[in-house]
Amino acid sequence: MASRSLNDLVPEVKQKAEKVLEVCDSVGLDLLIYCTLRALQEQSKLYRQSRSWHEIKTKILKFKNRGFSYLADILDGVGPCSGPHVTNAAPGESWHNYGEAWDAVVLVGGKPAWKYFDAKEEWDAYGECVVQVGMTWAGNWTRFKERPHAQLRKGSNPLKVFDPDKIHEILANNKLI
């Protein structure tokens, strides 16, 4: 289970999350941040739990070929896992693994309003807050809008945005590897 503690975010993102919560509170918008950090080991377990050994082995090889051997080691190291299919992202492919993203839901009448059209005004206000603090709001993405999601950097898949050294540097700076 991923953390929902703001303390698990990197300091810069934590500060921004607190600012978003503060502003939302001041305008009367209820917001619940329900996911912050998902450690690489945890992401690996979730990724492995619904996949065959062949698929996992292919992914490990891909990681190694692209220079992400440290991610391949983590994926290999968590061992066999079983469970339902819950993610498409392998370790390192989500900004949650870096403590640089959070997922939040707006509450209307005390209940989470998961559907955008049930609480359009509130979701837009949350998105505005995220943009105002200098984060990227996935509700503004053109292909797949993931409105709860907010992240520090641009790009949906970190491994497609940065080279292996940069990724390693980010993880090391965030003390996650």
Binding site: S3, R38, V108
Partner: protein, 250 residues
């Protein structure tokens, strides 16, 4: 010490499922040993804890048990709060949602009015009850006992003399032959007018309330926005503007 050590497997299971608890577990290790925990996953943390002395393990287990309990309570509280509409939450509802709740409440009768409706139907209940008790005392042949005679004098709707009358005739006799009423029936006849007035007044007021609605009310968190096409075009700008204004002032 043993009972708390026996809880260790359950604690490790909880720690492996919740990363928040994993970090707390590391901090507790650091607090106990004075050295920072080097565990990078729950399994390593388990190994670290197993290397501690039994006293330290018990200390760790006790501290973690409290943190797990707190975590459970927080989650439970969150679930309850999400599912419940409190006055505080209600103040943040949209006018449309609050109107719906107001109408639901108006169409639900208060318990006092529900009881009064039963009171109006009291003669029917009494006849049924009386018929049963008459059947019982005659079955056992104790109809001459004083206690039943007294009971029948006060509450009885039926008498043995008019046992051949139909139930409806007996009920109507309460209204048509007041001189033959029992004590309870006389009291009922005196009170029924007031009770019916209360019920009719309540129903009348409820209909007026439903017709009026709560359209004139102001809600603290939301103000009524523009309607129709204007509302669709400008929808959402209110709260967004508030957010922008909040960032400008801070």
């Amino acid at each position: 010490m043993l009972p708390i050590l026996a809880a260790l497997p359950a604690i490790f299971t909880a720690v492996s499922k919740v990363s928040d608890l994993f970090h707390k577990g590391k901090k507790v290790v650091e607090k106990i040993t004075g050295k920072p925990s080097e565990a990078s996953n729950p399994d390593e943390l388990k190994e670290e804890v197993e290397l501690l002395t039994p006293e330290q393990q018990a200390q760790w287990a006790q501290s973690m048990q409290q943190k797990i309990d707190l975590y459970k309570e927080e989650n439970e509280r969150l679930d309850i709060e999400i599912g419940r509409i409190t006055p505080e939450l209600q103040s943040k509802l949209t006018p449309e949602a609050a109107n719906k709740i107001a109408i639901m409440r108006q169409t639900t009768r208060p318990w006092a009015v529900r009881m009064m409706v039963h009171y109006v139907l009291f003669p029917f209940y009494l006849v049924l009850f009386d018929a049963v008790q008459l059947a019982v005392i005659h079955w056992f042949g104790i109809s001459e006992a004083r206690v039943f005679k007294t009971f029948n004098y006060v509450f009885g709707a039926l008498t043995l003399n008019d046992i051949d009358k139909s139930v409806l005739e007996k009920v109507s006799s309460i209204f048509t032959e007041p001189q033959n009423l029992t004590l309870a029936a006389q009291m009922y006849m005196h009170s029924i007018g007031w009770v019916i007035s209360v019920i009719i007044s309540y129903m009348g007021l409820r209909e007026i309330g439903k017709a009026k609605g709560t359209s004139g009310d102001e809600f603290p968190a939301y103000k009524k926005g523009p309607s129709g096409v204007t509302g669709i075009i400008q929808g959402g700008l209110g709260l967004v503007n508030k957010v922008r204004a909040a960032f400008k002032t801070k």
